[in-house]
């Protein structure tokens, strides 16, 4: 794989172009990483607005029609609806795991099966989330199962 970086003052905005014959797992992973670091979400906490990169987000959770962004130890509120986030983040490392939650699979530590075809997902920060039976096939598909 060849990597070419052109740096010049004439470029206003960084642009990434990938030229390839066939898409393989390695390339797909690189593209996902680029997406993860390129896109950001705006979160609000205590009246302060902050731009959060997708790479630092652990999961999104929706409670009473309000969407919250969970970082390692911080929580921000997001103005977007969960279905909007799901659409936008489908090609990044995010997957819907229940009616109210979208998780960043890069922040997963492990999963374990529970009764009734559910999984418990443990995140890097020790938090545990439930992967519901309805969303389990989509979750497995992300891992090629």
């Amino acid at each position: 794989m060849k990597l070419t970086i052109e740096q010049s003052e004439e470029f206003d905005e960084p642009e990434i172009t990938i030229k390839c014959g066939m898409m393989d797992d390695r390339l797909e992973s690189i593209i996902r990483h680029i997406r993860l670091n390129m896109f950001s979400v705006t979160g609000v906490k205590d009246g302060v607005t902050k731009v959060l990169s997708l790479g630092e987000i652990f999961y999104f959770d929706s409670i009473d029609e309000r969407t919250f962004i969970y970082l390692e130890s911080d929580v921000y509120e997001c103005s977007m609806k969960l279905y909007e986030l799901e659409e936008q983040l489908a090609k990044a490392h995010f997957v819907r795991i229940s009616k109210s939650c979208i998780v960043n699979i890069m922040k997963l530590d492990s999963v374990r099966p529970m009764l009734n075809s559910r999984y418990e997902a443990k995140l890097e920060n020790g938090e545990k989330l439930i992967i519901s039976r309805h969303y389990l096939p989509d979750f497995k598909r992300v891992f090629g199962i």
Binding site: S29, M106, D109, N116, Y119, P137, I145
Partner: protein
């Protein structure tokens, strides 16, 4: 892909529950004074398939709690067997002894299928954990 997986889960549930029911039925046939005729075997398979279909259909009912989900699945099994198997197909009569026997058989089949599904999920979760570890190594 999604549909294929759903169909394969449907067949696993049907075949596993049918096998368990047939084993118990065969073991208890003499005591229950019930003949295992060809039509009865097909009817039992039909009921097992219908139970699996009803469970797959009610899968879309959102249930956050494990207990609620278990209750829905249990209701699927018992309502289908008692209404279809007992009521429509007349596979058993509605007296206390038969009802208790059917209840025991269904509970055993329910636990058996749940154990089989759990064993399958243990394998899948192992594969997922391996892939998570690989992803972390690459990063």
């Amino acid at each position: 892909m999604q549909m294929r997986k759903k169909i394969s889960v449907f067949f696993i549930m049907t075949c596993a529950s049918f096998t368990i029911i047939m084993l118990i039925y065969t073991a208890l046939a003499e005591w229950m004074k019930a003949d295992l005729t060809q039509s009865r075997i097909f009817a039992l398979f039909g009921v097992c398939a219908m139970v699996a279909a009803v469970i797959s259909a009610t899968d879309f009912i959102p249930a956050q709690s494990v207990l609620v989900r278990l209750a829905i699945d249990f209701a699927d099994v018992f309502l289908t067997v008692f209404l279809l198997g007992g009521g429509v197909m007349k596979l058993f009569t509605f007296n206390m002894k038969t009802m208790l026997t059917v209840f025991g058989m269904l509970s055993a089949a329910f636990v058996g299928v749940a154990a089989l599904v759990l064993a399958n999920e243990i394998i899948h979760s192992g594969e997922i954990n391996q892939k998570i570890a690989e992803m972390k190594r690459k990063n």
